[in-house]
Symmetry: C2
Subunit: 515 residues, 2 copies
């Protein structure tokens, strides 16, 4: 594998699994060329009936072959049954070297480890949360894994970099025509946007549902006009793991402190008062705390946000209902209140990565978000952020929407200064998920560092009394507390690449040296 | 021009304007091959601001060239100001040989006649209601006009048969990102679906609005991610001509009789009682009367339709609100009640020709409609229908959704037996818009003819007391009343082709011999 240094000085391959790879060049520096791919032209004459009774019947009807790429979405999260079901069936049929292109994998997909070991699955082009990432870190995949952000995955599919031979779409509700959504049915999960590109561009599109209804169901998150087959099964997943009954706000004092500092920062930067205020935070306890603090400031200032970007949660839904935000633009619902609001409230809008995150569009709305609050496993002196590998080098997380959400006007990373004996603010991150150029502020329980590139933010915050420090000071404080940590030991071979949202390679992940 | 006979015996060209043309082969007989086109891959880096202050500034920014194809939608109908505004400006800039690809033109677009005569516009690829069609009939266009159905136009764009260099999309509301809809603003028209393909596939996409708002407006009938520029102008059109204040039910006894017969036919065929009942009728007075009669029968039978296909009108909206139909699947709103319901009622669903009518999909919903009620200018002994040319040969109408809506389970043509001295049921239609194979019943004020191909319908109706006659009898009655009419005299040259919805050529329209 030929490695070259990209503009961040990271060694990256110029070819990945036989496809040409372009080294990362800097934000907005890579100009794409060529045309989006066009899927085969179908004829309505061949689609008079689509409903099949079970998975086997469906697998009998579609074109299966060794080495094919199959895709899944992850809206059912750790409650998903479909990935394991399909891959088990394909293994029984003796298929080999399958390429898995899920939007993400979760701990529930641990059975894939055996399928990878025994050659049914060759490698993964997608996010791997947990056991599959662990296997990958230890060199357990035949080929190189490719990690992409939500927006980057959509881009790769539309641009022809990720060709999907068959997309299996878990649909909490589908009608006989193949229209599908995630807001109705016993496995309701909220939006289905992560599967949209698959439905538009895959050669074969199969909707699998445990709630088959007559035409029409609505909304049409997936349109029947893009669907080859509709298959009914008993149960798509475990409802309790698909969405939480409730998402919970952090209670730990250090996490509350970080959330509070982040909210004060947004307030002191003057964003809440300005027209077109909007924000994005996740569903973790600290993010929820941040949202509650922001809501308090908004009430004080009688401010209304033009929109909040979801992952939706009850806390965000309450803000919508209170009139504090005009719209929720939702990519995934994290609790039941989120799902119900998406279903019932016309101002709670389902989005997909084309509109929200895809960089190869005539603009997505990620840069319209004013304050985006994100986490990370490591941040370094250049403000580069790592969300993929842990301090010990294990590849345990996908990118999610991180790279895309970092396109906000003010991207804020909220992290503790250290976790156990691991400093979080380090000299050099093990893996760059997003370049410092896109990261504006680090908020820790030991102070706030503003990226010196952002003169405008420094100016906005010059009268603020918040505990500003330099990133170097944060690093010093961290090291003082934890001692200088050992860097992970790696071998020379690249087991995964991290793609930047524009399709260039921002970093490589090397096999861990476990000896 | 080389002409060959297609499967209906009509002479059609094998090449149209230098592009290969395929003669019509029969329903479902033409299997497409190849891939949909892919538009150029854009980069979000180039789209940080999109708003321009006026048309001139926009025309300065986009790529203009002689012979380019420009497109428009017709949701503003006879109230549209945009087509004339843009073509006038392009004429002032000295552009020549423009190809116009509107979804339809209306009488308001009469000024185009001069632009065609003086060479600014070469020809039209789209429907021409009125004066432009007249000019075309008389041989006034440089090249051959191509008429397509709503679904056929979408197909042609996605399949690469109709390449659009610049799409100008009149948007009653747009936000600064280019998201646009037709349900808000002073020029509200209802859906914007006719412009969807243009926004997805045109090289340059320009949204023109008289109601520019901050991000986000919703719904996103047009997505900002597909839009290059947003231009604000004073007034998109004349609201009174964009939608009627009210649409009016027929009062003429002969038209009410036809409507009543059609409704009885649907009832007697047993469709209203069956599960999955659905229907489609237009916004003309006779269609509205049909809908009222159907509503009466539904109340009698306590039946509920799974959906009604709009063109939406107050009468259809009342049925939705009464609970007689579960959903309106709307392609265009014809009156204010239709627009307001689409805006406010979540069971009133905006559709576009991809989902409703496009034959080159994995199924559209046109064949799911149980009873479709349509008009026509002529019907012949083979049940072929003409909706394009009048009895005197003038090309005065577009296809609209006719070919697509004729895919319903029971396609019913409602027409008077004759109009003035013109028989409507003729031996041979001047122009075939849709083949008899797709037409199931002709309902006239002098009897009902069922297409003998439909044994199943004959069987369903064997106990009905309706006045069934053969198509030959209808023709005889018509001729007896009007006398045998003179056929239009034409020259040899083809001035327009009628494309079937699968992209094949079903008929040619020849220049009228006016000497």
């Amino acid at each position: 594998m030929n490695l070259v240094k990209n503009s961040l000085g990271r060694e990256v391959p110029t070819e990945v699994n036989g496809q040409k790879a372009i080294p990362y060049k800097g934000i907005g520096k890579h100009q794409p060329f060529g045309k989006k791919i066009g899927p085969p032209i179908p004829s309505g004459a061949n689609y008079s009936t689509k409903v099949l009774n079970n998975i086997d019947q469906m697998l009998d009807r579609i074109h299966l072959f060794n080495g094919m790429t199959i895709s899944f979405h992850h809206h059912l999260r750790d409650g998903d049954y479909l990935v394991n079901l399909i891959v088990d069936k394909l293994a029984q049929r003796g298929l080999k070297d399958l390429v898995l292109a899920p939007s993400a994998l979760f701990p529930v997909h641990e059975p894939l480890v055996n399928h990878i070991k025994n050659g049914t699955v060759s490698h993964v082009l997608g996010s791997m949360n947990g056991p599959i990432g662990k296997l990958c870190s230890a060199g357990g995949m035949k080929k190189t894994a490719v990690l992409r952000s939500h927006g980057g995955r959509y881009r790769a599919i539309q641009d022809g970099d990720l060709h999907i031979d068959a997309a299996f779409i878990a649909a909490p509700t589908a009608d006989v025509h193949g229209n599908a959504n995630g807001v109705l049915g016993p496995s309701a999960c909220g939006p289905l946007g992560f599967a949209l590109a698959d439905s538009l561009y895959a050669d074969q599109v199969i909707v699998v549902t445990d709630n088959l209804v007559s035409f029409p169901t609505f909304p049409w998150s997936i349109e029947g006009g893009n669907v080859d087959w509709v298959v009914s099964i008993d149960k798509l997943g475990d409802p309790e793991k698909i969405v939480s009954g409730t998402t919970k706000v952090a209670t730990e004092p250090d996490r509350l402190k970080i959330a509070s500092l982040a909210a004060q920062l947004v307030r002191d930067a003057g964003l809440i008062d300005e027209p077109e205020f909007s924000f994005q935070a996740g569903a973790g306890g600290m993010s929820l705390a941040f949202i509650q603090y922001i809501a308090d400031y908004m009430r004080e200032k009688k401010a209304i946000a033009d929109f909040a970007r979801g992952g939706s949660t009850k806390i965000l839904v309450d803000m919508l209902n209170e009139g504090l935000v005009k719209y929720i633009l939702d990519g995934q619902s994290f609790d039941l209140a989120g799902v119900e609001s998406l279903r019932d409230n016309p101002r709670h809008i389902e989005t997909n990565p084309f509109v929200s995150y895809n960089y190869h569009t005539k603009g997505c709305f990620a840069p319209k978000v004013k304050a985006s609050v994100l986490g990370g496993t490591e941040i370094d002196l250049d403000f580069n952020v790592n969300v993929n590998t842990h301090s010990d080098g294990w590849l345990l997380h996908g990118i999610g929407g991180f790279q895309d959400a970092a396109d906000a006007f003010m991207t804020i990373i909220t992290v503790p200064l250290y976790r156990k004996s691991n400093p979080i603010v380090v000299d050099r991150v093990h893996t760059i998920t997003a370049p410092g150029e896109t990261i504006d502020v680090i908020v820790t329980d030991h102070g706030i560092a503003i990226n010196p590139r952002r003169d405008d933010l420094l100016d906005r915050l010059k009268h603020s009394n918040l505990p500003f420090v330099s990133i170097e000071e944060l690093h010093e404080k961290a090291i003082t507390a934890t001692g200088k940590p050992e860097k992970p030991k790696t071998k020379d071979n690249v087991i995964a690449v991290i793609e930047w949202r524009d399709g260039t390679i921002i970093d490589s992940v090397k096999e861990l040296n476990l000896s």
